[in-house]
Amino acid sequence: MTGASALMDPNSVFTALRLSVVLACVTTGIATAIGIPLAWWLARSRNWWRDVASSLITLPLVLPPTVLGFYLLLLLGPSGLGALAAHITGRPTFAFSFAGLTIGSVIAALPYIVQSTQAAFETIGFKPLEIAYTLRAPPLRAFLTVALPLAAPGVIAGAVIAFAHTIGEFGLVLMIGGDIPGQTRVLSIMLFDNVETGNWASAHAIAGGMVAFAFITILTLRLTQKRLTHRTR
């Protein structure tokens, strides 16, 4: 098999790798985009009900992925968002599609981002924002140019966790995705198959590849952050 056809063959490792990478990136991206404002809102005040909300958001972490997967199947299917899905996709469910997979992964990844980012916002406090306001930066600009860069270490930590976790997620992904080659069969599922069937040579190779890829990505993220937020003491 030539390199090119291996890339196109939906059963190949490359396809699974591509799906894993896309899923992890898209999930981390969306979860960060939702998680940052959420964390901000949670960090802004000390009402007890914000603590309640923050704790609630964490709860998906507590359920085993296959169980969370089942509840998400109910949510995405005919008894849940199915009507909406039928409207958009013509099928009565969001499950078994890349879109559905992404929704599920985002819900599972959100707690990591929110917890870590909220802590960062709480640590930096109000003061820098007040200064930005007096310099005529309205809240959005103050947030983007001051609060967010100052909280960068925490945000990046959350994103790294979410990214790594999504790459390795398997129970949830299989449950919502249905293991469709070329659509929802990601690398972790392939790895699982090889482990379950005792196909150790392939398993080690895939695991090694995943780890190497994740290592490079995380290291890059960390170094970029260092560059961005570099401060001489």
Binding site: L74, P78, R91, T93, A95, L174, D179, V195
Partner: protein, 225 residues
Amino acid sequence: EQARVAVAANFIGPAKELIADFMQQTGDVIIPSFGSSGQFMIQIEQGADYDMLLSADVAKPAKLLKDGFGVEKSQFTYAVGKLVLWSNNPAYPASENTLRTGSFGHLALCKPDVAPYGAAAVATLETLHLAQQLQPRIVMGMDIAQAYQFVQSGNAELGFVAYSQLHNQHQGTVWVVPPALYPPIRQDVVLLKQGAQNQAARAFLAYLQSTKARAIIISYGYDMP
């Protein structure tokens, strides 16, 4: 005496009843652990002290014997699974016909390389010459429980599941796949080296072949060899 038994996840229901009955009869203690057969293989190779494995297939006990983890001649078939097509959606009644029309959205099964019921489902589709045609509609779960959940939650219109999963519920429509369409799903048990001298394990192995035990297994929707 007590013995530890590794039980394939699809057999959890009957295993619990069998063990309860056995313990009441003999006073021996059986401690079951539930999980996937593949996981048990790995654990046994890494030194887990199970006395006996109730596998979901034939191949794994055979491999354990070959690799020297099992007790010679202790392997036998304790149950034969029945494959069914199940629908929880009145618009798509479970039948060969519905399969052939191919008008449904998703057909659920479990992973053929991991779970025997998945292999049987694929074999059935191949015998019916539907494998190629239905390929794009197939969604796969890790095990029969997930295939079942795909259908139960309404996300898949049809699914190949184990008859034993449906034995005490009456939702939807069921088509019992004729045994001729797929190779039999034999589930084998094997006594492990660890349990070679364990009287409770040996007794439980014997009990599994008793009339009482066979009746219980059949009542859960399995066949016997």
